[in-house]
């Protein structure tokens, strides 16, 4: 592998311009804004940076944001898998419609999602009015943040798992059954190892989206400092005080977190693929 030259003749010509374009495009769209973030942050000294990103309120917001995003992504990984399974394996009436519905959280403006969710889960809303008497407050509590993140994260898992499921041939399952495996064994030993990397990718994407989400959460969170304040709100708070450097400092920390998270998931994927093989 390593000895293969980079510029080898391929069926499709134009490797040079294609790579050049890719690097240029990524620099323009991804790296340039990110380096601007670093430049703005660099106007702070180390002490100021640490004081900003490790203030008690900011720490509390990390706990809320990353905790809720992790929980929401976990729920989505399980139930997204289930949804994908149903969509691929069963013939249900109106399947096309259900399939399209999955993408709705993608397409919906997040603010619309937030306003809708908070009106549904508020004490006088459709669902809220049944939960409230049982002592379950969703809107304007950390639980509301979790609900919003679950809503917007669902398509990521479904859409990453679905194609892998479609590729899996039913013959494999039949073979397993012929060899005397139970349904559970087939799932655990045959299907799950195949689906795991995709589910993991979906989990990571849903997590990243939850961490960065603002619009849908802000209306349902209640935004109480130390309790239900998400980190993106604190960035906005800094901006309202014209504290650009402070805002980018917190943003940098979030970026770092997300990067580490993606890295961890990639490593996990590599590991699981090696074990599956």
């Amino acid at each position: 592998m390593a000895t293969r030259p980079i510029t080898r003749t391929t069926v499709i010509p134009g490797f040079g311009p294609a790579l050049g374009y890719t690097v240029f495009y990524l620099s323009l769209v991804v790296l340039l804004p990110l380096s601007a973030l670093a430049v703005k942050t660099a106007s702070l000294t180390w002490g100021e940076f640490l004081a900003t990103v490790a203030a008690p309120r900011v720490l509390a917001s990390y706990r809320v944001t990353f905790g809720a995003a992790l929980a929401a992504a976990g729920v989505n990984a399980v139930f997204g898998l289930l949804v994908a399974w149903v969509l691929v394996r069963y013939r249900v009436p109106g399947k096309r419609l259900i399939d399209a519905l999955v993408d709705l959280p993608f397409a919906l403006p997040t603010a619309v999602a937030g306003i809708t969710l908070s009106s549904v889960y508020a004490a006088n809303g459709w669902i809220g009015r049944f939960l409230e008497p049982r002592g379950i407050e969703v809107a304007f509590t950390p639980l509301g943040i979790f609900v919003a993140m679950t809503f917007i994260g669902l398509p990521f898992v479904v859409r990453t798992v679905q194609p892998v499921l479609e590729e899996l041939e039913e013959e494999i399952e039949e073979a397993a059954a012929c060899l005397g495996a139970t349904r559970w064994q087939t799932f655990r030993r045959v299907l799950f190892p195949e689906l795991f990397p995709a589910a993991l990718t979906g989990f990571a994407l849903a997590f990243a989206r939850g961490v960065g989400e603002y619009g849908s959460i802000i209306f349902i969170a209640g935004n109480m400092p130390m309790v239900s304040e998400i980190t993106p709100l604190l960035i906005i708070t800094k901006l309202e005080q014209y504290d650009y450097a402070g805002a980018t400092a917190i943003a940098t920390v979030m970026l770092l977190f997300s990067f580490l998270m993606l890295l961890a998931v990639n490593l996990l994927q590599k590991w699981s693929r090696r074990h599956a093989a």
């Binding site: 009106s119 006088n124 809303g125 935004n223 400092p225 130390m226 906005i236 708070t237 309202e240």
Partner: protein
Amino acid sequence: MKPIKTIAAAAAAFLALAAPLGARAEVSLLNVSYDPTRELYQDYNAAFAAHWKGKGGGPVTVKQSHGGSGKQARAVIDGLEADVVTLALAYDIDEIAGKAKLIPANWQKRLPHNSSPYTSTIVFLVRKGNPRNIRDWNDLVRPDVKVITPNPKTSGGARWNYLAAWGYALKQKGGSEATARDFVTRLYKNVPVLDSGARGATTTFVQRGQGDVLLAWENEAFLAVNELGKDKFQIVVPSVSILAEPPVTVVDKVVDRKGTRAVAEAYLKYLYTPAGQEIAAKHYYRPIDKNVAAKYAPVFPKVKLFTIDDTFGGWQAAQKKHFADGGVFDRIYGPGK
């Protein structure tokens, strides 16, 4: 390189030709404002266009941009080409002057009344019949009352709410910094939801049924009552409140570059004329013109009003003490409280 140069030259030539033509033809202004003035300026822009034409000027179209006051100010700082800004707080315009140097520092002295052609104040919106019997600021710190107000760190309007409560406590018998701080702390203990903006807080109170009382701009409270039903909400005017002065100014660097200074200045001056004042009053902003104010006196109940300059030493001082990081508001929500 060559074709790019040619295009650039052609574009420059075109602009040079088009600019004087454009000046003689239609003039377009951009008014960057905050959220609750949307309806006000829709009416006002039409009136001003007619007025300007009547004075022999060409056709004027005024484009509007609305959003949170601080967000709007940041947009102007970052390059939004506003001819005039009409924001919720002097602090936000101060930042445009300080950070981007688009306006001279003494901008607030250029027009009468601290450059605020209309004023407002902070009132209470309660549910019909006033079930919790809320009459004055004191009732807001009762343990059985839930108060809805946005977060002062993200909302200009919320800063007026906060300072109004603080000023009330300060002006009571035996009132001091310590009693004011205690009063405001107790008030915010009664706040179950901190929305990021004023419209969001109104929605939380009106649509979601949260809380017993909403702290709101007077014009916002009138709008809520008129739009959502007199049978559902009513306005309670406290004994003392703050004189909210939303200021306006021309953005000098922009109008000088665009050559729109004359129109932009006339646009703001017209706000001070009886016609302009009438439009402001119709949208429930308190007019400063004596005659118009007298005409609309039945609409606006008399309240003892204090100003931010007298009570807090101006916006810069108030911002630094109360709303900056580590300020009084942050300590109310400090860890372990």
